[in-house]
């Protein structure tokens, strides 16, 4: 007979979980595995709310397993390490992102691309090696294999750094992979949310000229004054669009709603690259003539491998890049999800797990 979430593993844990596709989260008692030889256990201090968490609690991708404890931007302090752990020690500040396991023997794993391993295990809602479901960071403790633990430098504010574990790597990886992380490039960032605002910061740190492309003129001041973008393009304004045609080396498209990429392809210079980071659920129209006539490309990217995530954190620490966040107590999480659905956040909610979870249970 299947064990309950509370009985499955030896270490008690508490968190908040969604029970069904209404997506409403509520207190949830479960358990974590014992600390294995290569495991690191940490008490969770903060967890970022990623838009993917919202998609998953509502089962919008059809893959959710309930009860679902979301959260893959998890940071905290090490409380226990397995006997063979070398990377960190008790008291260190660490994090876990989107992935907690992979096969470790395929080509992707051997190239530090665990996220693309066919047997990759997500931090929540996935099946772990022992057959149990993984539970994410909206919880009091976390345990993960050393390979999937990221180290945070002491001087980084942990709450504002948490979103780097998904949003940060999701923009950093393609900027490097597609050759856009070079001084003097003109990069466009479409959509100014969790991914977009961090995209602006990283692109600026790489020395690029950055233009925020948005349908909301209300974001202009924020983009220019606060985030340091070089310019702002209102994509619903035909004149502004036409004046900018053929001027971008690369565009990061963070919008997950259905939208037209035809104007974005027009904005690219010859040999320019449109990188899709949001994943609309239906196909988009691809105009072929402009793609061919300008030798342009449309590509995608999803987070990054463990080595690159650590590299990204170290880069962010060096350049003082963190997310702009709104810290909330855990019992605000359902309201936060509603506001997130309307894009009403600047620019990531981060749950103050350390100070609010215990009292909520």
């Amino acid at each position: 007979m299947a064990k309950t979430p509370e009985e499955e593993h030896p270490i008690k844990a508490v968190g908040w979980a969604a029970r069904d596709s209404s997506g409403v989260l509520s207190p949830f008692k479960f358990s974590r595995r014992a600390t294995g030889e290569k495991d690191v256990r940490f008490r969770v201090l903060y967890c970022g709310i990623c838009h993917s968490d919202l998609h998953m609690v509502k089962n919008e991708w059809g893959t959710s397993i309930y009860p679902l404890v979301p959260g893959h931007e998890i940071v905290g302090e090490v409380t226990e390490v397995g006997s063979r752990v070398k990377k960190v020690k008790v008291g260190d500040k660490v994090g876990v992102g989107c992935v907690v396991g992979a096969c470790h023997s395929c080509e992707n794993c051997n190239n530090d691309l665990e996220v693309y391993c066919p047997k990759m295990i997500l931090s929540y809602g996935a099946c772990y090696y022992d057959g149990t479901v993984t539970y994410g960071g909206y919880s009091d403790t976390m345990v993960a294999d050393e390979r999937y633990i990221l180290r945070f430098p002491e001087n980084m504010p942990l709450d504002a750094a948490a979103p780097l574990l998904c949003a940060g790597i999701t923009v950093y990886s393609p900027l490097k992979y597609y050759g856009l992380a070079e001084p003097g490039k003109h990069i466009g960032v479409v959509g100014l949310g969790g991914l977009g605002h961090v995209g602006v910061k990283f692109a600026k740190a790489f020395g690029a000229k950055v233009t925020v492309i948005s349908t909301s003129s209300s974001k202009k001041d924020e983009a220019l004054e606060h985030l340091g973008a070089d310019s702002f393009l209102l994509s619903s304004n035909q004149e502004q669009l036409e004046a900018s045609l053929g001027t971008f080396d690369g565009i990061l498209d963070t919008v997950s709603a259905m939208h037209s990429i035809l104007p974005l392809i027009g904005l690219l210079k010859s040999h320019g690259k449109l990188v899709m980071l949001g994943a609309p659920e239906k196909p988009l129209e691809l105009p072929v003539f402009p793609l061919l006539m300008g030798r342009k490309m449309v590509a995608g990217s999803a987070t990054g491998g463990m080595k690159e995530i650590q590299e990204m954190i170290d880069f962010a620490a060096k350049h003082n890049i963190t997310a702009d966040i709104e810290v909330i107590p855990i019992d605000y999480v359902n309201k936060a999800m509603e506001r997130l659905a309307k894009g009403d956040v600047r620019y990531r909610f981060v749950i103050d797990i350390g100070n609010s979870l215990a009292s909520s249970n």
Binding site: M276, P283, L286, G294, A299, G300, A302
Partner: protein, 359 residues
Amino acid sequence: MAKSPEEEHPQKAFGWAARDSSGVLSPFHFSRRENGEEDVTIKILYCGVCHSDLHIVKNDWGFTRFPVVPGHEIVGVVTKTGKNVKKFKVGDRVGVGVLVGSCKKCDSCQQDLENYCPQVIFTYNSLYHDGTITYGGYSDAVVVEERYVLRFPDNLPPDAGAPLLCAGITVYSPMKYYGMTEPGKHLGVAGLGGLGHVAVKFGKAFGLRVTVISTSPKKEDEAINRLGADAFLVSSDPAKMKVAMGTMDYIIDTVSAVHALAPLLGLLKLNGKLVTLGLPDKPLELPIFPLVLGRKLVGGSDVGGMKETQEMLDFCAEHGITADIELIRMENVNMAMERLAKSDVRYRFVIDVANSLSQ
């Protein structure tokens, strides 16, 4: 008052043109410009029939100016050279491909990518610097600026080599640009026509494993036994497509009709690259999830610059790569167009201009 095609320029010329979007070609008297200081006059020996010629004569893309003399896979012999011409002399065998002019000043031109110059001038149906329309290779002679003329290697047959000037470079350029040349990697070629059959040959020359992806099972024998492909995948067979998912590093998609990209993206491995080269008249549907989850890309490409086209011709001479052609007489060009529309050719028609074009 606008001059007639015959009066526009000082040198008389003769070819075949389409007069309207019926696309029917017929004899046409026109004229070529005086051979300028940078120009070379070429007596045309052969001209390939590219699928783009068919699209243009029927005005499929909506920008044809009639009368149009198509043809941008031209091989011929130099008969005259302007005084500043250094690369060629009378008697040289040369080729002219898809472009005959550009601005020469922009970033693309400076990087030997004249084909991407915003002011590129195509070999036919384009406005030349002097405001007149360019006429292509279904004709007796052409005058071209030296920069846009290619040396045609002696050991390449001029008839079977003619299609390299468009089909060849159209496939060669993206294979190099998108890095589809690592020996041992797996290339899929979708569509087995003019572009596709040349892609198979280049793929093998680069040391790749090549699978032809086609809707027609009857092309399998040709693909494997004659063109040297390693495997053949019938894309309309769901079971076979499923087995092949995630097995290809690269795909060259030469299909010009509107078609589904999703199954092709599914065939790619992680970091796989799909280059689409056909020009359908409507947008294609692009599913985004596979791009994001597999870090895949869909790119376009359009012929190549002059330097790269020369490099491609020399590569073909070295590796003995030519197109598989059916040589036809000029007066059979309309029938060839009809057969081309039905993909009934293995794999390019080439017009024997010098031996069949008569007034």
